[in-house]
């Protein structure tokens, strides 16, 4: 799946159908549109309510040129288009198509609407052919369900569907066996800005545990991250929970064997969960032959599953299945990673599939598919304090703290303005 880069901040969304197709009954269209929204409510906490007046998503069936600079082309060809959240979320359907309901004939309204609403929610086209978010019309499917790819995409934006049993501020990461599989439910920190990472957001290392938690290490302390801030009850002491592990770690990563590796100076440690996994520390030169001491950062890159180490202006690729594990063509300049600076502090891949590079008090989001730092608004680097740690006001001198800056400078946004969508910017956001 691919994420466009914006999403709705609110989960209770409203919509209206401003223009109906001429050959279908309005009540039938209403029902199909609601069914299409329900595709996405089945896997998230999103709700969609029809309403008059100003709404989040406006739906229109239009012919040809219809005011947004992206005219429809008559029967066949382009069937519909929709705008990403930051551009309004509206969905337009080509009124000249033979729209149909529960039929193999014509163009099935439900299928197309469900796809378009994926865009309205922030999903781009997927290159997984069987996914709903693949760009080509798939025809009528009487037993439709979302593909895993679509589910992972929408949940990367809005989290998994939760049981509505009230707020959950639980923090079970320090209790062995306490993991219940619902750890990634977004939780709101009551006082999210009350932590020292806001004063000095530069940190040592960041990694995802095998259980799916994201941890930030800095000096002797560590924090667990939630979807948009730090979890309550942090920081804690590294030495209290990772017994035997020192502070001021240089680099870390969790490998596909589920074990987490920590690097400091000339040594490294391997942990399974929070238990040391053997006799450690060991020498980097022995366990990771070809990798230098005193690293800046490390990660497992999703592009090929190999381990990457970063130091100064250079990087090394380590493949444990090869001999030697580091090819003679390494190290290479970090400038090969388009847009990524030298002298990094940390790097990791987050659960949304992007790779994030951190330096000083800012970060860069790297798009593995395009192999470059994302060109989006606000631009990267962005403030780590604001976007990762939930600090209300980032320290002065950081950048990218405005979630709406730059929205009016690109082509798609100006199209949206021509169309005159009644769109409330405060309900959308760019995400980290």
């Amino acid at each position: 799946y691919a994420l466009q880069g914006s999403r709705w901040k609110v989960k209770d969304l409203t919509y209206k159908i401003s223009k109906y197709p001429s050959k279908l009954k309005r009540a039938e269209v209403d029902k199909e549109i609601q069914r299409a929204f329900d595709v996405w409510t089945g896997y998230t906490d999103l709700t969609f309510t029809p309403k008059s007046g100003q709404v989040h998503i406006e739906i229109r069936f239009e012919y040809g040129e219809h005011g947004d600079g992206d005219p429809f082309d008559g029967p066949g060809g382009t069937l519909a288009h929709a705008y990403f959240p930051v551009f309004g979320g509206d969905a337009h359907f080509d009124a000249s198509e033979a729209w149909s309901i529960n039929s193999y004939k014509g163009t099935n309204l439900f299928q197309v609407a469900a796809h378009e609403f994926g865009h309205s929610l922030g999903l781009s086209h997927s290159d997984v052919r069987q996914a709903l978010m693949a760009p080509f019309y798939r025809g009528y499917d009487p037993v439709f369900d979302l593909d895993t790819d679509d589910i992972e995409g929408i949940q990367a934006l809005y989290g998994k569907k939760t049981m509505k049993t009230g707020p959950r501020f639980g923090d079970d990461d320090d209790q062995d066996g306490g993991f219940d599989g619902s750890h990634d439910v977004p939780s709101k920190t009551p006082s999210s800005a009350d932590h020292s990472l806001c004063d000095d957001p530069k940190f040592d290392t960041i990694f995802n545990s095998a259980e799916g938690y994201t941890y930030v290490f800095k000096g002797e302390k560590y924090w667990k991250l939630t979807e948009n801030s730090v979890a309550p009850g942090y920081p804690k002491l590294i030495s209290d929970n990772w017994i035997g592990l020192p502070g001021n770690i240089d680099a870390s990563f969790t490998y596909k064997n589920g074990k987490t590796y920590f690097f400091k100076g000339s040594k490294y440690w391997r942990y399974k969960g929070k238990r040391v996994d053997g006799l450690y520390p060991k020498e980097i030169s022995e366990g990771f032959t070809g990798i230098p001491d005193d690293l800046d950062a490390s990660m497992v890159w999703s592009g090929n599953g190999k381990i990457y180490f970063f130091k100064g202006s250079k990087f090394w690729r380590f493949d444990p299945s090869q001999r030697p594990p580091v090819k003679s063509t390494y190290p290479k300049p970090i400038s090969n990673w388009d847009g990524v600076p030298n002298n990094l502090n940390a790097v990791f891949q987050w659960t949304n599939g992007y790779t994030y590079f951190f330096k000083d008090n800012a970060y860069y989001r790297f798009n593995d598919r395009a192999f470059a730092v994302d060109a989006t608004t606000p631009a990267f680097p962005r403030s780590s304090a604001y976007w990762w740690f939930g600090c209300k006001e980032a320290p002065s001198g950081t950048i990218g703290t405005s979630k709406s800056s730059g929205l009016l400078i690109d082509e798609e946004s100006s199209r949206d303005n021509q169309f005159g969508s009644a769109h409330n910017d405060s309900d959308t956001e760019h995400y980290r």
Binding site: Q4, D70, F72, G76, G77, T78, L79, A80, H81, A82, T107, V112, H115, E116, H119, S124, H125, D127, R129, P135, F136, Y137, D338, G339, N367, A370, F371, A372, D374, A375, T376
Partner: protein
């Protein structure tokens, strides 16, 4: 089936090629064109040949969504 010129329009419309500017003629080298076709073939799950072969032509005339497959073509996101 789309001709080369229609394929060019298609590839521009859906983000595989940078759109041409206004009324100026757009001269494009073959390598850029082949790369755009390859990108499209890879995205659509076709055999990647770089040629406007029959499978690619058939896919280009399928009904589809009007949103670009590659949002941001023309900036550095499609560089590699």
């Amino acid at each position: 089936a789309p001709s080369d010129s229609n394929a060019l329009l298609y590839l521009s419309q859906f983000g595989y090629l940078a759109p041409s500017k206004g009324n100026s003629s757009h001269l494009m080298d073959e390598k850029t064109y082949r790369k755009a076709i390859e990108d499209f073939q890879a995205f659509a799950g076709l055999e990647v040949t770089g040629e406007l072969d029959s499978d690619t032509q058939k896919t280009m005339v399928l009904p589809r969504c009007g949103v670009k497959d590659k949002v941001g073509t023309g900036d550095n996101r499609a560089k590699r």
